[in-house]
């Protein structure tokens, strides 16, 4: 009898310990993000956002009734590290989908690996080459530079500008912007009067600006990420150049205003709606979601919210939604479901993927902003 009780207890214990193990079999995703290195200003908010959202999803019961786990690896903004991290996710961690990488170069470097393993990859970077031509396993959430450039040129056209000068940073971000600018500026009927570049670690751009001023353009378009554009803004004021200055969405964060100080006044730039979530008209259907995310992020990390964190949010939620739609965490099923995504409201805009479009965003991803008195003002156009 006693022996029987003992076995019952043992069996119960076994069942107890076994059943959570069964339920705890998590849905595993992986992320390759540039948490350190030159692109850490992108990778860190992405990582923070993904961690925050994973906690939120798990608190709400997980995915498919199972807990969600995201293995986040840092690629230190390096190609080799990104490749090794991707290999680790695919071969050691055996994840169902990969979020990231953060930068275009790293995304292009690892796309082939994910596709060979038939695992979907949702890149947080903007390069058009990632989704053009369409690779069945590669998706992206960051809006293409083409959309941002189109926004700027539409604004410039309305002001009646004819001659434009461009000043771009010589890294992946600046190169992508420069290519699109050199194509669209003449195509839209403008004259490109100067094409200058600066190094990502350069600390003085007066030489380039002096040269640009010599070409007397109607407006200058600067394409880069902090801190270069802040130096450009300061140098422009220092040289007394009054020509209007456009920046890219790469500096659409409070950090830029902080760095450039008074020199930021009057600068125009296209940005994702998250930058001005609170200032959006109440009629905007996305406002509630954007404000909620911004508030949660700022409360948890005591840092201003940025578009970049939004890329992390979008890649994670797109993957989760695809898993739920497919009812499975098999990589192939996730891929198929991702491609059927329709009107998904993300932070970066409304996503609709199709077999011919893995970029998913339309021109409404950007709004035009002006910096006034150290804050953003939405420019209607």
């Amino acid at each position: 009898m006693r022996l029987h009780a003992f076995f019952c207890a043992l069996a119960a214990l076994f069942a107890l310990s076994a059943s959570p193990a069964q339920a705890a079999d998590p849905v595993r995703l992986g992320a390759v993000l540039s948490v350190t290195g030159p692109a850490s200003f992108l990778g860190e908010p992405e990582k923070n956002t993904i961690q925050m959202e994973v906690d939120k999803i798990n608190a709400a019961g997980g995915v498919l009734g199972r807990p969600l786990e995201v293995v986040i690896l840092d690629d230190e903004t390096g190609v080799n590290k990104a490749v090794l991290a991707t290999d680790r996710l695919l071969k050691k961690e055996r994840v169902s989908a990969i979020l990231g990488p953060t930068t275009s170069g790293n995304s292009l470097a690892v796309m082939g690996k994910a596709a060979a393993a038939k695992v979907p990859l949702i890149s947080c970077s903007a390069a058009e080459k990632i989704t053009k031509p369409v690779n069945p396993y590669s998706f992206k959430v960051a809006p293409s530079d083409r959309l941002a450039v189109a926004r700027i040129l539409a604004h410039a056209k309305k002001q009646g500008y004819k001659k434009l000068a461009i000043l771009t940073v010589s890294d992946g971000f600046g190169q992508a912007g420069r290519e699109v600018l050199k194509e669209l500026v003449p195509a839209d009927g403008f004259e490109l009067v100067a094409d200058e570049v600066f190094g990502p670690k350069d600390t003085d751009m007066t030489a380039q600006l002096t040269k640009i001023a010599g070409a007397s353009p109607d407006a200058i378009i600067c394409w880069g990420t902090n801190p270069g554009p802040a130096v450009v803004a300061k140098n422009r004021v220092q040289l007394g150049i009054k020509t209007p200055l456009y920046m890219s969405h790469g500096v659409a964060s409070k950090k830029f205003i902080e760095l450039a100080g008074e020199a930021a006044e009057g600068i125009l730039l296209p940005a994702g709606k998250i930058t001005v979530a609170e200032k959006l008209p109440d009629a905007d259907p996305e406002k509630a979601q954007l404000v909620a995310y911004a508030k949660a992020y700022e409360e948890k990390y005591h840092a201003p919210v940025s578009t970049f964190g939004g890329h992390g949010y979008d890649s994670l939620h797109l993957a989760v939604k695809a898993i739920e739609a497919a009812g499975s965490d098999k990589p192939q099923a996730i891929r198929d479901a991702l491609e059927k995504t329709k009107n998904f409201p993300g932070i970066g805009g409304i996503f609709t993927y199709s077999p011919t479009d893995h970029a998913g965003l339309g021109p409404d991803a950007f709004i035009m902003l002006r910096i006034e008195k150290g804050d953003w003002v939405i420019v209607g156009d």
Binding site: K201, T203, D204, A207, Q208, L259
Partner: protein, 291 residues
């Protein structure tokens, strides 16, 4: 063709003065120990980042900058005491690798302590540009030039008028002879790392209002400083400062007249050509082979 030249000159001199100051730091350490200190750029980074950090603690700007320089001097001295002195007798290349290791440590430490963001330091005396001779000059540029000249003058005085400075020069000339006349070579090495930290930090602090700073700016600035002191001729403080100015002006004119993308390449090509013609730098003495 000459349009913009005055502006390029002003930009070049400002940048160049900073490169020269960084090169000066290299020279201090090289002269007493024969080591090229790859962590020199990190001293520059610390100067800027610590100034911003101290300012954030509520210290007034001049005090914050001074404190940052002194703190970096301590870091330099500690580096010598903890990692360089125990090496005594090992090949010079080992010491150089150690300085690379220390630079990784300092960079990593700064990243963890101050975060990864770029930060700005307010200008020392306003931002209203001064217009002269067709160029706009930032007041901070004058600060950079003035501090560089002041530090050069102070070093000159130190080497020629103080016994300690002369002792340090003696180490530079002949270590064995210096120790035979009773100079503590080890103490001189410690001192040179301290002074070098101070100079590097000063460069970082005066440059930060113009260029902003972040935990990872050290490597590039260090490289430019190294190039400055090679250009001027290794071992001569005057040469390092002059080499820095030449390098800065080359870069600015390269960006203005050649191509902004290739301006660094332009500066380095000139540097290489110079070395091929005069293998000991602009002001270096030929035939001195200390390595």
């Amino acid at each position: 063709m000459l349009a913009g030249a005055p502006q390029y000159l002003v930009s070049g001199l400002t940048q160049g003065a900073a490169y020269g100051l960084i090169g000066l730091g290299f020279t201090m350490i090289f002269n007493t120990t024969g080591i090229i200190n790859f962590a020199q750029g990190e001293f520059v980074m610390l100067g800027g980042m610590l100034s911003v950090a101290f300012l954030g603690l509520g210290l007034p700007l001049p005090v914050a900058v001074l404190a940052a320089c002194l703190a970096t001097a301590v870091v330099g001295a500690l580096m010598e005491r903890l990692t360089i002195r125990p090496l005594a007798g090992a090949p010079a290349i080992n010491a150089v690798i150690i300085t690379i290791g220390v630079s990784i440590l300092l960079r990593g430490g700064a990243m963890l302590a101050f975060g990864k963001d770029t930060v700005a330091l307010p200008a020392f005396s306003g931002v209203k540009p001064i217009l002269a001779l067709g160029a706009a000059i930032q007041p901070q540029s004058l600060w950079v030039l003035a501090v560089t000249l002041a530090l050069l003058a102070a070093l000159k005085l130190y080497f020629s008028a103080t016994i300690q400075g002369k002792a340090m020069l003696a180490c530079a000339c002949q270590k064995k002879a210096a120790s035979l006349v009773g100079i503590s070579v080890a103490r001189m090495a410690l001192l040179s790392f301290g002074i070098s930290g101070l100079i590097g930090a000063a460069a970082g602090a005066i440059l930060a209002p113009i260029t902003m700073t972040a935990y990872d700016v050290g490597m590039m600035l260090g490289l430019k400083g190294f190039a400055a002191c090679i250009l001027g001729g290794l071992g001569s403080p005057f040469g390092a400062a002059a080499g820095g100015l030449v390098l800065g002006v080359l870069e600015a004119f390269g960006a203005g007249y050649v191509s902004s993308g290739y301006k660094d390449a332009f500066a380095f090509i000139v540097l290489l050509l110079l070395l091929f013609v005069k293998p000991s730098g602009l002001f270096g003495k030929a035939g001195v082979d200390r390595v």
